[in-house]
């Protein structure tokens, strides 16, 4: 293609991917040489065809996707790469990719997606697979000891302070932004997320928020509704809208039977999970602790003084203590992996908060038995919300306070700065990252078990999901819960500060003791606050304050 022609089209608003997509792209470009934008209609149709085609691999309800499916999807989505990279351009380049292998997802999928990319570009990728719980330690050791031995990393936004803040990542080139259609990201994942000091570092591949997953059959059951009324409840039997109702329903369901089995209400995850378990207390606490007039909810923004021991968080901790006796007998030994995949998907419990994985697994995971009886909403609210500035509980005129927990801000793919000295390697690394963060491939990831949930505006096109085989009511409920969480004006946003998982991990240990009855809720919360203060001093208070404010947009 002539460079002048190409640049003319790009100026007219087309991305490289748009221009070259589909078999008819060259003809379209020739036809558009006078009019520019006219070229874009046929590739758009081709893109729609492609999206419909990949969503049929293997097809919703046709079993869990296999490596052959990952490769097929990767092959079909390669056109965007071909627009920027010549065949065999990266021959001889060797890259190392570090990521997770949770639930046999993440890296396991990336391998399949990138196999056709390797075959086309000639690059070779070696893999470092990590369990979720080992991830933080491995990353921190690499940073602290100056032994970054990977070129590309799958990483969550909370680690940006640790990695981007220390100059270890490569800045995203403009061509990558165009290839991945950066503007398609939902608003809360746009900068400052993925940036540091104004520079863009991350190819987003996931959006994260805890939504509320519940059993529609339990909350539509006439016998339970009758028993609920007989118990003296003044409200109708239905899906709880506030944490106060969640508590009441959980206690009510203790000892009840449903479809011949014990039925349980809410499932807590009290067992430590490498720091990630703290998010689940955060989901219980956000409606109590995140006031609409205050962006901060975990620390005071000006001092980094922890709020974990304020009445809002203590109430959330007390809720867990009060609910545990009504949950399954071994619940104290359940981590989020257990509640999500071994309990809820297997039919135990009727309410859990989780990332969007439950929604994308409930109909496509072979171990799920609740595919047709699951509903979704944003996290429950609270009748009152704690105001840290006044020290009072406020009742809002608008009704219950809702505050979805935008926990973790999703996974991204980052390229390490160590490739910058080698132009070919740098382009190869960014090309691989862009392939994984491609617009079409991301739709497939959102629709099938992948470890990733919707994160682009284009993911919320319900007819696409219905055409793929999803039930319209189900997918509408799921996508609405996700979209409403992302776009909520009072969302509780993850603080992107260095060492955040150390805070979470220290809290988990103390919470485990508190939930086991060794401390009262307030004592446990005070102990966490003391540990967090110490940690802040150890990491550097002034710096943490600055970064915490930046992450809140204050």
């Amino acid at each position: 293609m002539r460079v002048g022609l190409y640049e003319k089209l790009v100026r007219a608003g087309a991305t490289r991917r748009d221009i070259l997509k589909g078999a008819a792209s060259m003809a379209a470009i020739a036809a558009a040489s006078g009019a520019g934008l006219g070229a874009l209609t046929r590739p758009a149709a081709a893109a729609d065809d492609l999206r419909a085609k990949i969503l049929q691999i293997p097809g919703v309800g046709k079993g869990q996707p296999t490596d052959a499916d990952f490769q097929k999807v990767g092959e079909l989505c390669l056109e965007a790469t071909k627009a920027n990279v010549k065949e065999g351009e990266f021959a001889g380049v060797e890259l190392t990719f570090m990521g997770l292998n949770n639930q046999n997802l993440h890296n396991v999928l990336f391998r399949g997606f990138l196999k056709p990319w390797e075959a086309y570009t000639g690059a070779k990728i070696s893999w470092i697979d990590l369990a979720q719980a080992d991830y933080n330690a491995r990353l921190q050791q690499s940073i602290a000891t100056g032994t970054v031995d990977f070129d590309i990393i799958e990483m969550g936004a909370p680690f940006e302070g640790d990695v981007c803040g220390k100059g270890l990542t490569s800045e995203m080139p403009d061509w990558v932004k165009k290839q991945i259609d950066f503007d398609d990201l939902v608003n809360y994942l746009k900068p400052p997320v993925g940036t540091w000091n104004g520079k863009q570092y991350r190819v987003t591949i996931d959006g994260d928020a805890h939504n509320f997953n519940y059993r529609t059959d339990v909350f539509a059951d006439a016998d339970l509704a009758k028993a609920w009324k007989e118990s003296g409840a003044t409200t109708e039997w239905g899906v709880p809208k506030t944490w106060q109702e969640v508590q009441a329903v959980t206690k009510f369901l203790k000892g009840k039977q449903f479809k011949g089995q014990d039925v349980y209400g809410y499932l807590d995850a009290p067992k430590p999970w490498g720091g990630f378990g703290f998010y689940f207390l955060g989901s219980r606490a956000s409606a109590y602790a995140k006031h609409p007039d205050d962006k901060a909810w975990l620390f005071d923004a000006d001092t980094m003084k922890p709020r974990i021991n304020n009445p809002a968080w203590v109430r959330a901790i007390q809720d867990v203590i009060d609910a545990l006796p009504s949950e399954p007998p071994d619940q104290i030994n359940a981590d989020p992996n257990t509640t999500g995949f071994q309990q809820f998907l297997a039919g135990t419990g009727s309410m859990i908060p989780w990332w969007g994985d439950i929604g994308s697994n409930v109909k496509t995971n072979d171990s799920s038995v609740i595919g047709d009886v699951t509903g979704f909403s944003i996290l429950p609210g609270s009748d009152d919300v704690y105001n840290s500035k006044t020290g009072q509980w406020d009742k809002l005129a608008s009704g219950p306070n809702y505050s979805p927990n935008c926990a973790y801000l999703g996974w991204g793919v980052y390229v390490m700065a160590r490739v910058d000295s080698d132009e070919k390697k740098q382009k190869a690394a960014w090309s691989a990252a862009a392939h994984l963060g491609g617009k079409d491939l991301s739709l497939w990831c959102a629709a099938y078990p992948s470890g990733f949930q919707p994160y682009r505006n284009s993911h919320f096109n319900i007819p696409e999901w219905v055409a793929a085989g999803y039930d319209e009511a189900f997918i509408s409920s799921y996508l609405k819960s996700e979209g409403d969480s992302y776009n909520h004006p009072n969302a509780a946003i993850e603080p992107r500060i260095p060492g955040i998982f150390q805070y979470y991990s220290a809290a988990e240990d103390i919470l485990a003791n508190t939930f086991a009855g060794k401390m009262k809720a307030q004592e446990g919360a005070d102990a966490i606050a003391a540990a967090w203060e110490k940690l802040t001093d150890q990491i550097g208070r002034e710096n943490q304050i600055k970064l915490y404010k930046a992450s809140l947009g204050v």
Partner: protein, 373 residues
Amino acid sequence: MADQTLPTNAWPANGVPADLIPPGRKRLGFALMAAATLGLLAVIALQILYKTEVTTLGFDTWRPIVYAYVLWGVALGVGQVLTRGEDGQRALFLLPALLFTIAMVVFPTLFGFYIALTDWNLSSFSGRKFNGLDNFWQMLADPYYRNALFNMVLYVLAVFVEYIIAFGLALLLNAQIRARKFFRVVFLMPLMLSPVAVSWMIGKSLMEYRFGPAATLARHLGWDNPAFFSNPITARISIMVLDAWTFIPFMMIMLLAGLQAMSREVLEAARVDGATTWQTFWQVTFPLMLPVSVTAVILRIIFKLKLADIIITVTSGGPGGATDSVSSFIYREYRDRSNVGYGTMLAMAYLVIIIVFVTWLLKFASRFVRNVN
């Protein structure tokens, strides 16, 4: 036939007795070793000054120090031969192993003690800072560490129960029973399994509350809520059982070897003298087996003191720290909290406790065996 061995005062053809080495050669040897030592010390000093930003001259990594150490080792070896002749050649057999041990054991241990005296959080922007005994004082006041130490006492006491079971099994397999070889192999199998595999197969599958066969069996036996890891006491016992199941075969095989090595005449003599089975066991077999028993118990205690994998996999130390071991606590301090300085202090203190305890145990055991025998 003539004696083929060399008399003690005979030297190999190229060997030179120390007293026959010319003074010039000796001086050359000493000079070489001194120069190499000074060179090594200078390179180390230079690198320390560079890393502490006192000078701008130095190396980006510590790798050149390793090369300098190797060169120093070579110079030391050559120096030994030059200065000590045949004795020096003999020293060459030992020197590589000695230098390797210093590099791989002595230096890391000393460096570990230094790290234990620093405030080193991997996320800290200011990096590692020397903080004296702060970590030690923090450790003394740390209730989680004390709790883990208390749990270790309980876990170690459980070894004696394991010993009784292992002895019983060893006696059984030493007896003339049918399919004895088959049972010996079967009883050894748990030892061949990785503790992580045991954790998943048994702790997280067989003993799983909802669908685990062990839980189902317990329900049939009348236990309404067979949650093996929910209550501190049952969780602790469950971990002990899992660990015992893995390691009892280790003790059993040692005891079985001891039983098979025992003189049959002694047992026959006891029987001829009219001793009952119990008397034979208690007054003959058991005392004779004491040295083997003590070895088996001490080795098992050393293994037990390192208990971590099963706990990390099954309970993460819960509920409420009831099953936490020192190793699993240190693991969390390192892995989840990147608190390298404090974690190293915990590990070093535990190392000292183990050394003192095992030394005392060995002395006590040898006195006990001597008194009984």
